[in-house]
């Protein structure tokens, strides 16, 4: 028995020592990151609204700037100007549309951003920036700041949309993509729950993987050790308690009921009082919701914003 216990403990200890090696191999084997193809020609503005149908030159200039920025930042940039057809699209459908559109244009887990600019007439308008690959980590902390800055240039929900305002907003957006790009990496990571993928840097290399990032690994290792320690201590003290001496016989077994005699056994009523308290009433409600499904399995980050 003792030999078995020692063998088991040794095996578990060995497994624990191999944890970092095993997790490194696992991450290396499932890195889905496709990087950037180096081709900026697919980066563009899709004018579904037809806002620049009367001003092709402005659209061409903007497309040129988009491609220049894409080359500079080494990532795909796609801007979709949603027209009236998308007026009744739900917010969650917008997210799915953005993610899937990006994947279908550039491929899954490539580096890039997809900007869904809602000028469909929907109120409130729902803009969305879908990030993919490295862009997930580059912009995960600055999405809200980008939306806030763009609010100054974009029309309010339901108001008239002017091409110049949108063009100016898009130029600002491209500038913000440059200024907000955070390439520091470090231990930060992002987890896309719908695809189950993690985005992180490890050993200077970027990973899109279903294996956990180093920072999360550390958290899991520490919490697992704490949980193991707590369980081991509980078992130790419970078993130790069971090996204590059990209580002795209660002396009441020696009392003779026949020979025990009461000389006085009185329960005299003294007083009575009744108190009352009002019961506070409470009420509650319920909420529910739903969602859609992805056509692609690429991992995405990003955020939405209502105007």
């Amino acid at each position: 028995m003792m030999r078995r216990v020692i063998s088991l403990a040794a095996a578990v200890l060995l497994s624990l020592m191999l944890l970092p090696v095993l997790s490194l191999d696992a991450a290396a084997s499932d890195n889905y990151s496709q990087g950037w193809s180096g081709d900026a020609s697919q980066s563009m503005i899709e004018d579904d609204y037809g806002l620049f149908s009367q001003d092709q030159q402005t659209l061409d200039d903007l497309n040129k700037k988009v491609q220049e920025t894409a080359e500079k930042l080494e990532m795909n940039i796609y801007i979709f100007l949603a027209g009236p057809d998308y007026r009744y699209q739900t917010d969650s459908a917008t997210v799915i549309f953005s993610d899937d559109s990006y994947d279908s244009i550039f491929g899954e887990d490539t580096d890039g951003v997809f900007y869904y600019l809602d000028i469909s007439g929907k109120s409130p308008a729902c803009d969305h920036i879908s990030t993919s690959g490295r862009a997930v980590l580059w912009y995960q902390d600055s999405i809200d700041a980008i939306f806030s800055r763009l609010d100054a240039y974009l029309p309010a929900s339901g108001s008239t949309v002017y091409p110049d305002d949108i063009a100016q907003a898009l130029e600002v957006y491209l500038g913000l993509l440059e200024s907000c790009q955070d390439t520091s990496g470090g231990l930060s990571y992002y987890h896309d729950e719908s695809s189950g993928k993690y985005f992180y840097y490890k050993g200077g290399e970027f990973y899109v993987s279903k294996s956990r990032p180093p920072a999360m690994d550390l958290i899991y290792a520490v919490s697992s050790v704490v949980a193991g320690l707590v369980v081991a201590l509980i078992i130790y003290f419970v078993v130790k308690r069971k090996y204590r001496f059990k209580s002795s016989t209660d002396a009441s077994v020696y009392v003779s009921r026949e020979r025990t005699r009461y000389f006085q056994k009185e329960d005299t009523f003294l007083r009575e009082h009744t108190s009352r308290t009002r019961i506070e009433s409470s009420s509650g409600g319920s909420r529910g919701g739903g969602g859609g499904g992805h056509s692609f399995s690429g991992g995405h980050g990003g955020g939405s914003h209502h105007r």
Binding site: V253, L270, T277
Partner: protein
């Protein structure tokens, strides 16, 4: 009159003369006697010993050998037909130290009903439920040490006068409409009761843990027999080293607790009780010296002696199981490591 010459007829403690009451009083059992009363009791005792009893005491003294353990100091009695070779407590050799006086002859005895084989089976069953015992605890060599031992007991019949007064509350709650009502009724609870406890035992052996002996109780006194040397055949007996006076506080404490139990039971239907007065006075104690059958074993582990006792009449077993801490630590470490590994690899995925 020199009071120190007299001992309490109830508990055998020394009587002291109290100038205030002009009586001889006992500090242990709080009995009090006039000088005439004590003289009369002593005179009766001197003439009360019948010839047969005197003969029995003489036989006991003649046919009982006393063995002494030089290692732990235990005194073991055995009849002159058998020879004690080792100490039941520390398992070291014992030496014949002489004969006993008739004072150590018990008046009553309960013979062994549980055989050695039955005792060993019960012990093995008890051990089998415990995983973390040392490996040599359950070996034949260790089980050889199980000894059939007659343990000296002082068994007392006690009368305790309990005087109890409390304020009892009965609380009832209900809800009507939007209101919650609480009704409190108060009662004055008085109990004056004489509680008679019969046969409270206290072992007269300082070496054996008192709690261990209390844990294998109760014995069935309906099977008590007059002492006979023939009961010792094949067994050993312990010579008492705790006398009547020394066991009296234990007896008093247990009798008081038994009386408290009677009171608690009779006032059990109150929601709460605020005790105003609670006195327990021992009024009468009759002590009897007897031998009760116990299968006894000790085990030395980690510098500590673990005692096990099994009631030789009912088979009730008690003892502290030795804990193999090294083994427990290893198992806990293995479980802890397994949880760590499972948590690390599968955490967040289950």
């Amino acid at each position: 009159m020199d009071a120190a010459q007299y001992k309490c007829p109830n508990c055998n403690a020394e009587l002291k003369f109290d100038p205030a009451t002009q009586k001889l009083s006992c500090d242990y059992c709080l009995s009090a006697f006039t000088i005439d009363q004590i003289k009369e009791i002593y005179a009766q005792q001197e003439t009360a010993l019948p010839k047969e009893e005197q003969q029995a005491q003489d036989d006991f003294a003649e046919h009982t050998n006393l063995y002494h353990c030089t290692s732990c100091g235990a005194d073991i009695m055995a009849d002159d037909q058998q020879t004690a070779t080792f100490c039941y407590y520390c398992h070291n050799p014992v030496i014949l130290s002489g004969k006993l006086t008739g004072d150590f002859k018990p008046s009553k005895i309960i013979g062994f009903k549980i055989t050695r084989e039955e005792a060993l089976n019960k012990f093995r069953k008890w051990v089998s439920k415990r995983w973390f015992i040392p490996p040599d605890f359950n070996t034949d060599e260790q089980l050889e040490k199980m000894t059939g031992l007659y343990v000296p007991f002082w068994v007392a019949d006690c009368d305790i006068m309990a005087d109890y007064e409390a304020i009892g509350k009965k609380i009832r709650s209900w809800t009507t409409g939007n209101y919650h009502y609480t009704e409190t009724k108060e009662y004055r609870v008085v109990r004056k009761v004489r509680v008679t406890s019969l046969g409270i035992p206290a072992d007269g052996e300082s070496k054996i843990e008192d709690l261990l002996m209390e844990s294998i109780e109760p014995f069935d006194y309906s099977e008590l027999k007059d002492f006979s040397m023939s009961y010792f055949s094949g067994f050993f007996a312990d010579k008492y080293d705790v006398d009547k006076a020394a066991v009296f506080p234990r007896i008093k404490d247990r009798a008081t607790k038994a009386s408290q139990g009677v009171i608690r039971k009779s006032v059990g239907n109150y929601s709460s009780l605020s005790v105003k007065r609670e006195n327990y006075d021992i009024q009468k104690t009759d002590l009897q010296y007897m031998m009760l059958p116990v299968w006894f074993m000790t085990y030395r582990y980690g510098g500590k002696v673990y005692e096990f006792a099994l009631n030789g009449q009912t088979g009730k077993l008690a003892g502290t199981p030795p804990l193999n801490k090294k083994k427990l630590r290893l198992v806990c470490a293995a479980i802890g490591l397994a949880i760590t590994v499972i948590g690390y690899f599968f955490g967040g995925r289950i």
